[in-house]
Symmetry: C2
Subunit: 243 residues, 2 copies
Amino acid sequence: METRLLLLEGRTDVSFFLPLIKELYGFKEAKCEDLPVLEEGPKKKGLSRAICLSKDDTRLVVWHANGKDNLKNALKLIFKAIERLEDTPAIIGIARDVDTEESILNWAKSTLQSGGFEPDVKDGYLMINGIKVIPFGIGEVDFDARDIDLKKELELLMALLAKKESSLSKLEGSISQLRKDLGRKLTPKDIMHLLAIARNYGGDSMSGLYRNFIEKLIRENRELVEEFLNESGLKEFLNAIAR
Amino acid sequence: METRLLLLEGRTDVSFFLPLIKELYGFKEAKCEDLPVLEEGPKKKGLSRAICLSKDDTRLVVWHANGKDNLKNALKLIFKAIERLEDTPAIIGIARDVDTEESILNWAKSTLQSGGFEPDVKDGYLMINGIKVIPFGIGEVDFDARDIDLKKELELLMALLAKKESSLSKLEGSISQLRKDLGRKLTPKDIMHLLAIARNYGGDSMSGLYRNFIEKLIRENRELVEEFLNESGLKEFLNAIAR
């Protein structure tokens, strides 16, 4: 049994990644066994409850950090807990919004160094005591949209996916009118609210919209999802942690 | 100590009512003591966790029904649990979206009758074994808006409040463009997504937006909130359960 870990920023990221890992890579949710308790301490300083997935001989444990402010801390928590894991994980994936960070690899390296670890820098990943640590920056995509502020975050990927799928194409006039009315470009999160309108989404959480949208697209237009994964660099990252 | 109960449809309703009850009527959250366990059974068939509020000699216990489909069932659950309460409640408030229901009073009456109770119908409320049951229909408001589908639901009240507060006034052009692009009127829920855009709301849940918006308005423009409560009939209902 090989164990892999995946650390995400928050629960919207979980709603985004889980359908991809389950539907495209065939992982299924499983009971979490033999996991050290990592969820200690106050909520905003800890990790989410673990979600355990398994496929054949691979187990993938997914956490989120309860928000980006706690991501560094969460990564250190995971490393400190690894010695209590029965099997040392082979791979640890970490995905975060790019935001204004120039190099996610450097960010991960310096985070681990500040926790007292000494990672070796390889081509696109880090090695620590035989564990491969793969950081991924969410939001590096080419997106041709004059009314949208291209903030490098999860919602920009979602906006790209929505654009490909054409849910939003009928709202182009509205998007440009909104830009005028607001006196600013629309953020990717704004675009998500328009997606909710376009799809008549009635749920309370935006992350539920992301999950539904991705699940439906995978079922109905898998090719388009694959194209999107390639363009956003996600394919390589997902292959590394889930294949 | 007088006990009162309030049953709401779902958690968005809790986000709407709680700030009003706390900020305008001075109730504070308190530990729930001596409450019978009502949360038995599968989640969708039960009640939410109770929220207990208190002010002076009055305790107000608030539940939601996990969605409108379970509201009838939840109301019956509460009535069956009342005999296990140390103090018989004096008042039970029930608020639900009007939707297409012609009379919320009749709806409450027939719901209770189907649970084996025999309510007496009074002017705007029911009496059962000395308990005053006050039903309230959410969404009965005059709203002059040609691009909005006036669905009688919580979000219509929120849309009215947003209109009064003028968060949305700069988006009038966008609203009419959206109507054209969508080929339909906007629903009150659509208007809430536009409110999220107008206010640059970054949270995951729409109910969080409602709560923030109401809290802020109460702080900054209490008169406007009072006017809104009067117009929507909420003032009378809130006075009955929280004054």
